[in-house]
Structures are given as structure tokens and as C-alpha cells.
């Protein structure tokens, strides 16, 4: 839609009494979708999706979408994984994540292709795919952005795709060598995936550092950490960790410093968690310079769009690798799921998440159930 038209519509919209606005907006969206459907000759599909209606309010609502465009496929979701950090930040309006409501969450989903556009090659109807798709029963996506799920990988496992890529790019930057001592600060989903992926590189020791013991049970499962330290019990335990490599997976400004404190002299610290906000009063000399630390930023947007280089693989390459690791049983992720929720339960799920998630790690919506 051109800017001038949006401007006019917005001006008109603000003139309408607030009580009438939602109904009129819905009517407008529905009618434009129908016009678009006729013009593009694309069928209207009925689906359901999770919406954040306001701070700490999630609800499952019916919605309509157009069938796939020429380069797209229509995916019927089987399983979608909650990205706890990002989704909680938006739901609660935390710093750096203020979005308007309603907001449609989700970006890590696996499902089946039930319709495809005419230009799509390499993906057929009935194929199982995974990728950056919202928490929705049905969604269209560009075929080129999706990954085909290998046989032997379940929909639940495949729904870890986006989170897997996020953690893989961080672990790659950490360049862990066999025999190194590794610490993972933060034991939410990102932290626990980092445990598992770091384990693949044969560290001499793998230590989890977390605010509490809430997530210890899962962290020490096979493929997880050797030792679990709780900051609640001993704030000073960080100084004894002396890891060669520290993965920061909490995502708070203070956790950046905690991670640095866990590193040995000359150690590397990978900032994998999204610490929205400022780290204040960082004592650069005592925490970092005197101990010659290397601090490495690792966010999914740092990945090159194409042409990989050492320690910098593309999104597509990391995604393919993730599924391969699961397929070959090198990596187990299914046991990180602590709550297999029905989409209808989303209000309760996000209520728990808003409060901090209790001892949950992986939460999925199972759409097929």
C-alpha cells in the first residue's frame, strides 16, 4: 500500500469513535483480503494462530490468509517451539522489545506442505518442512527459506530449527577445541541447547552457571553439563569457574559481566543471549583488560547472507546442519521439551512464561493434536 494511502486511512481511522474501531478494522482487513484474493486468484484459507492482545495476554484466534503465491508453500503446522527469551520480552514489553499489540509471535515451526505455488521446485505437497513460521495452524512461507525435514527427525525435534540455528552460530564463533573448559551462563532453552552443542566438541569440562537450581534436572541429563552452579547459593562461584570459553545465554545486561567473570585469563566470552539494555559501570580494567578477555558478539543477524567463511556459516547451512545432527543422533533435543501444550492452552502457557517460565525449558504447541 502506498504511504499516502496509509496516511489517509490513518487520518480517517483516528476520526472514528474508539468503540467502533476494532469492528471496522476487522471489516476492512477482511474485505481487502477478499479483493486481493480475487485479483491474485489465491484462495482464502482459514486458520488459527496465537496472538498477544496486550501485555501478558495471549489468546488463540481464528484468522484468514491467502493461499501460497508463486514462490510460496502453504504449511500446515504440526509443532511450533516457543522462543522463550524473545517472546517473553515482547509479551511483557521488556527493553528493546516494545511492539504494538496485537502481536503475532513465533518463529520456529515444523509442519507439512499442503499447497505449493507454481514456481516452487524441490518441495512437494506432503513434504515435511521446518523454518521461520509463526505459532499458527496454517501459514504461507517462501519455499526457499524452509528446510526439508529428514526422515527420522520428528516434527517436535524439527521445530527447534530456528533456536538451533541461533545457538549453532554462537557455538561456531566460540571455536571450542577438544580439551577446553567451557561454561554456559544461563540455563533457559538457549543455554541448554548451548550445553548440548558445546558437548559435541568434547570439552574437558562443561559447567552450567544459572541464577537458581530450577533447571538443573534437565541440564545434567545425558549430553548436558558436568557441573551445575547456582548463583543464588553462591554469588562468588563465578570467580572459580575459570573457563577457556564462556557462552552467555541469559540475555540481561548484568549477565554479560557475570559471563566475563567466569572466564579465565585470556578466555573467550561469546555473547549469545540478547541482553536488551545497557551494561552500566562495567569495570573494564578489572573484569576484562587485566585478564585479556576476548568478547565475541553472536546474534543471528550476524550470519552472512551468502558465502560462508570460517566461523561464519549462512543461515541455510546452519539449519541443514542442525537437522543432520538430530538425524544422526549426535544431538538430542526432544528431552528438552518440558511442556507439550495445546494451542488452546496458550493463555496459560504465556501466563507462566511472563512470570519467568518456572522450571520450564522447551515449550511446544502441538497443532496436530
Amino acid at each position: 500500500m502506498p504511504d499516502w494511502l496509509i496516511k489517509i486511512l490513518l487520518t480517517v481511522y483516528t476520526k472514528i469513535p474508539p468503540a467502533l474501531r476494532p469492528t471496522l478494522k476487522e471489516l476492512f482487513v477482511k474485505s481487502t483480503l477478499r479483493v486481493e484474493s480475487l485479483a491474485k486468484r489465491r484462495q482464502i484459507i482459514q486458520g488459527k494462530r496465537v496472538e498477544f492482545l496486550d501485555f501478558e495476554i495471549a489468546h488463540l484466534l481464528p484468522y484468514e490468509l491467502l493461499g501460497p503465491g508463486p514462490d510460496e508453500v502453504l504449511v500446515e503446522a504440526e509443532c511450533s517451539l516457543i522462543s522463550p527469551g524473545t517472546e517473553r520480552a515482547v509479551l511483557c514489553g521488556l527493553p528493546g522489545a516494545r511492539r504494538g499489540f496485537p502481536y503475532i509471535p513465533g518463529y520456529s515451526t515444523a509442519g507439512k506442505v499442503i499447497k505449493k505455488g507454481k514456481n516452487v521446485k524441490g518441495i512437494e505437497i506432503g513434504d515435511r518442512v521446518a523454518g521461520r513460521i509463526k505459532h499458527a495452524s496454517h501459514e504461507t512461507a517462501l519455499a526457499s527459506t524452509l528446510f526439508k525435514v529428514p526422515p527420522g527427525v520428528s516434527a517436535e525435534e524439527a521445530s527447534f530449527i530456528e533456536l538451533g540455528i541461533i545457538v549453532l552460530q554462537g557455538i561456531r564463533k566460540a571455536a571450542i577445541k577438544p580439551g577446553e573448559r567451557v561454561a554456559v551462563v544461563g540455563q533457559g532453552l538457549i543455554g541448554q541447547l548451548a550445553n548440548r552443542l558445546a558437548r559435541l566438541l568434547t570439552p574437558a569440562s562443561l559447567v552450567a552457571v544459572a541464577p537458581s537450581r530450577n533447571r538443573e534436572r534437565l541440564a545434567v541429563l545425558s549430553g548436558g553439563v558436568d557441573q551445575y552452579l547456582s548463583l543464588k547459593e553462591n554469588q562468588d562461584c563465578v570467580h572459580a569457574v575459570k573457563a577457556d570459553v564462556v557462552i552467555e545465554a541469559v540475555g540481561t545486561p548484568q549477565a554479560n559481566v557475570t559471563a566475563m567473570q567466569c572466564a579465565r585469563e585470556g578466555g573467550r566470552v561469546v555473547l549469545l543471549g540478547s541482553s536488551r539494555g545497557l551494561t552500566r559501570d562495567w569495570d573494564v580494567w578489572n573484569v576484562a583488560q587485566e585478564r585479556n578477555l576476548t568478547i565475541i558478539g553472536a546474534h543471528i543477524s550476524d550470519m552472512p547472507e551468502r558465502d560462508a567463511s570460517p566461523q561464519r556459516w549462512t543461515y541455510a547451512q546452519e539449519g541443514k546442519l542442525f537437522l543432520e545432527l538430530v538425524e544422526t543422533k549426535r544431538l538430542n533435543v526432544a528431552d528438552l521439551i518440558t511442556w507439550r501444550a495445546k494451542p488452546e492452552e496458550c493463555n496459560a502457557v504465556y501466563e507462566v512464561l511472563a512470570e519467568g517460565g518456572r522450571d520450564h525449558v522447551g515449550i511446544t504447541f502441538n497443532w496436530g493434536a
Binding site: 545486561p253 551494561t279 580494567w285 576484562a288 568478547i295 558478539g297 553472536a298
Partner: protein, 260 residues
């Protein structure tokens, strides 16, 4: 252990660095002759002189472990040999930052060796090589640029413009000052590399999320010490490179001008 007689030291190196603990402040490097039991000069690895660290610029005769001595090529005079030490440290610094041909190299005021560090960036092919400085009297290096940070706002704008469209940026802060560190972190693009090499006396507020995490930046926290290369594992290769460089007359001239 080798018995050494010190011939030349660089007292100025050590005394300038007031940030070091007092007991280490007098520590400096020296060019010394190796003596045998009868106090006659002998050669170490075929060289009559070695480089070593000494506890005081006034040291004369001392015993040092052979592993802590580095033979000086016979083609070099004592002055060149001493000059090779900060040069090797500067080579090490840019190597850590992985500066490549054609990448932007940014360095700052705040060290007596800033000029030398900038020069090494030029020798590594940095383009442009930009010095951030408060004073406008500091002459830019030949092939280098100088950007005034007297007006932070203007400096930020100009630096952003200069860096735009460049494939890579490596920067070293030698000042340790929060506002300069902030400027550098703000300006580096995706995949930028930064060394915090100036000893920070103050605490710093950093937006790690925006400027490190999301940019995929690498932050090396290591205060620059012109002599520390002698105590690093990698010293042999860096000193060898530096020795080869100071054999060239023009390079010696440039280095001694920049280090004075």
C-alpha cells in the same frame, strides 16, 4: 642462566606507564652482552647481543634464564634492536585484530606509541588509517588521516561517513576513555573488531546488545604495553619480523621519529 652485562636500556618506556603497579614500573627492556664464567663476551645462538627484560633501567650485570633472552641479529645496532620491541608489539596488536589489506584501521590518541601503531596499520595495508585525536596539532602520518574528536558529534558523523561501504573495520582504543570507547563501539559496523588497549581508569557504560551482540563484533580487552611482547609466547616470530623490518633504513627512521 646467562650472565649479562647491560649495554642499553629504554628507561623512558617504563617510567611513562604510571598505570602499572609500582614494583613493575621500572621494568624495561635492555640490550645486553652475554658473558662467560670469566666475564668475557660470548655469543648466544651465534649472536653477541640479546634482548631481555630488566627490573630497572639502571641494571648493569645480571643473571637471566636463557629462555628469557632473545638473540639480536649482528647486523643491528643496540638502538635498532630496542626499537624492534615496540614495533613487534604493534605488529602483534594488528595481527590480533586481523587487519587486512584495504580495511579501515582506526586508532586513537592516548599512548606515546599511537603513531607507531598507526604506521604499522599502514604497513599492513589499512586504508584509510584514521587517528582519533583531540588536538589538531598532531600531524597525520604519511598516508594516514587524522580526525578531530574535539566535537564528538561531528567526529561520529565523519567517521561513519568514512567507514560506510567499507568491507571491514578494525579499531584500537589507546585512551581508555569512556567517550572514545563509546564512539568506537557506536561506529563499528557488523563484524567490526575492536581492541580496548588503553588502560581504563573509569567504569564504562556499554550497550553490548546493540553494539557487540547484534553486530557480531569482537572485543579484545588487552591493554597495550610496548614491551610485553618479550613476555609473550609468540615473541620469537614477532621479534624476527620486527628485526627484519628495522634492518631497513627508512623504517628505522620512521619508527624512531614516531617513538620519540
Amino acid at each position: 642462566m646467562l650472565k649479562l652485562i647491560v649495554e642499553h636500556t629504554y628507561p623512558s618506556f617504563a617510567t611513562r606507564d604510571s598505570s602499572k603497579p609500582i614494583e613493575k614500573r621500572d621494568r624495561t627492556c635492555a640490550v645486553a652482552r652475554v658473558l662467560d664464567r670469566n666475564d668475557t663476551s660470548v655469543k648466544s645462538n651465534g649472536m653477541p647481543y640479546v634482548l631481555t627484560m630488566v627490573d630497572s633501567p639502571d641494571a648493569s650485570t645480571l643473571w637471566v634464564a636463557e629462555a628469557s633472552c632473545f638473540p639480536v641479529p649482528s647486523s643491528l645496532g643496540a638502538e635498532e634492536a630496542l626499537l624492534a620491541v615496540p614495533l613487534a608489539s604493534a605488529l602483534y596488536l594488528w595481527d590480533r585484530l586481523g587487519l587486512e589489506l584495504g580495511e579501515v584501521a582506526v586508532y586513537t590518541e592516548g599512548s606515546d606509541f599511537a603513531g607507531l601503531i598507526g604506521q604499522v596499520a599502514i604497513w599492513r595495508g589499512g586504508l584509510p588509517v584514521i587517528r582519533l585525536d583531540h588536538s589538531s596539532v598532531e600531524p597525520a602520518l604519511d598516508q594516514g588521516e587524522c580526525l578531530s574528536i574535539a566535537d564528538q558529534e561531528e567526529a561520529l558523523r565523519r567517521l561513519q561517513l568514512r567507514i560506510k561501504d567499507k568491507p571491514g573495520v578494525a579499531a584500537v582504543d589507546l585512551s581508555g576513555r569512556p567517550e572514545i570507547i563509546d564512539l568506537i563501539l557506536e561506529v563499528i559496523p557488523r563484524w567490526g573488531r575492536v581492541m580496548l588497549a588503553g588502560r581504563s581508569q573509569q567504569r564504562v557504560t556499554v550497550d553490548f546488545y546493540t553494539n557487540v551482540h547484534r553486530k557480531g563484533a569482537v572485543l579484545l580487552c588487552e591493554a597495550f604495553d610496548p614491551l610485553s611482547i618479550l613476555e609473550k609466547r609468540e615473541r620469537a616470530s614477532y621479534l624476527s619480523m620486527a628485526f627484519r623490518l628495522v634492518e631497513k633504513k627508512d623504517i628505522v627512521e620512521t619508527c624512531s621519529r614516531l617513538v620519540k
